[in-house]
Amino acid sequence: MKRTIPLFLVFIFGIMGIIPFIIPNPIVQGTDEFVRNNLLKILAAFALILGLGSLLKVHMDKIRRRRQNWGYSWVLIISFIITSIIGLFGGVAGTGILPTTIGSFSFDVWTIYFNVEVPLGSTMFALLAFFMASAAYRAFRARSTEATLLLASAFIVMLGVLPLGERISPHLPSFAQWIMEVPNVAGQRGILLGVALGALATALKIILGIERSWLGGGGE
């Protein structure tokens, strides 16, 4: 029973997800709209709470078992609590239920967002440039014909997208564009078709109950 009901629900809702794309009947479309605008919205909200609960549980467990880098789990939990308190009482833009403003400093979600998240996120991404430069210097070698081709096309595309490329040759940006539009698209399309067919096969296997690993316990 523990397995039959979820499998049955997946089958029904899986089919219901496909049908509205191929049958424009008003009853089918209306049912689809009801499911999306009512049931799925509520489910998504529950999934959000479940996700947050799971995140906290995983990190609490990590702290309890003193796993590697467990100290960072404290950072996550403390940040989570502080952000939640500020969000609940300070609101999004200082419009919360409690006065949370000291001078011109407002304790609200935007203050955290613009003063913590934006600089931290930008810093993390900016560091990538340095690691990429160092890694490219060490690893990007013309060891084989394929690697040489990759290297040459990388140089052309890099120079082609920069204003400098145009100064080297007015044809360089167009050539870079051609590399992206022809050989790149040929490869990408092959990958896309492969991924799409794979996703279709997996989706069908899940809907028909052949693939059951998502229930936990492998393919039993």
Partner: protein, 287 residues
């Protein structure tokens, strides 16, 4: 032997330092670079430019602060273009994180236009000229549900107003009243707009993406599923160029200003790759 050592074993701190200088110096002394506008951006520009008066443009801000330097200038340029042409604009984010960036862009561009406005008709008014729909749970739900009714899915806007009371939303009911959706994203979101909103409702989609992810979006441009494609800082600079040239919008060109830093950073990387390869070939020949 010594040359090989030098060429193949440059300390990573030296690489970091040179790259840092290459990025910082051009940013300290900004000089906007002129760029040639390539067809994907040109197509994007005209797709927005030709939106009929009775239809709206949806701008989907779906990027985190990490990718904001590349995608923010695109958002600013598109909003400037739309407001200058008096195209009705709906702004939304499918995830919570980009909401602040969307709000920032809207606030700044609206303020720019309103500071130059002489009359109420010249001004950009909330509810009449644009609406900030904000965020609702479930990205794919939003894509599908807006095809039937935007106000049914976004019952309230970002500021808590009931959407069905806003004058603009009385005209813009679903995708039939939308001329184009501009999806600015650091992830796969533009593809999902094609899969769900375009395939089912025929919504036209244009994409603004980061340079690092650009290659995977070209197939959609080639098939015509994307009405235009803006790629990274260069794409944003091209769009800035277009709005300056065609609409005479004289505002700060953030992407064009950042291009020299990008150029020097790429040059540094190319030089180091070449040095590394020279060292590698000398070493191989000696073996």
């Amino acid at each position: 032997m010594k040359i090989i050592e030098i060429l193949t074993k440059i300390d990573r701190r030296i690489i970091y330092l040179i790259l840092l200088i290459a990025v910082i110096v051009p940013l300290l002394f900004p000089s906007p670079e002129k760029v040639r506008v390539m067809p994907p951006v040109e197509k994007f520009y005209y797709a927005i430019d030709k939106i009929p008066e009775e239809k709206a443009l949806i701008v989907d801000f779906d990027y985190a602060p990490q990718t904001a330097p590349e995608l923010d200038p695109m958002g600013f340029a598109i909003l400037r273009h739309a407001f200058k042409k008096r195209i009705k604009v709906l702004v939304l984010s499918l995830y919570v994180q980009p909401l602040g960036l969307a709000r920032n862009a809207l606030t700044q561009v609206v303020a720019e236009f309103n500071s130059a406005a002489q009359t109420n008709a010249d001004s950009i008014i909330y509810g009449r000229d644009y609406v900030f729909l904000g965020w609702q749970v479930g990205p794919i739900l939003a894509m599908l549900s807006m095809g039937e009714s935007i106000t049914n899915f976004y019952k309230v806007d970002y500021y808590g107003n009931k959407t069905d009371t806003l004058p603009l939303m009385k005209q813009i009911k679903n995708y039939n009243n939308v001329g184009l959706l501009a999806s600015l994203s650091g992830s796969d979101i533009p593809k999902y707009w094609v899969m769900y909103a375009q395939n089912r409702f025929g919504l036209k989609v244009g994409a603004g993406v980061t340079a690092v992810s650009a290659s995977e979006f070209y197939p959609y441009l080639q098939t015509g599923q994307f009405s235009g494609l803006m790629i990274g800082m260069r794409g944003a600079a091209e769009y800035e160029e277009m709005i300056e040239k065609n609409l005479n919008i004289k505002s700060r060109k953030k992407a064009s200003e950042s291009l020299p830093a990008l150029t020097y950073a790429h040059l540094v990387m190319i030089i180091f790759i070449v040095i590394g390869n020279i060292g590698y070939f000398i070493k191989r020949r000696k073996k």
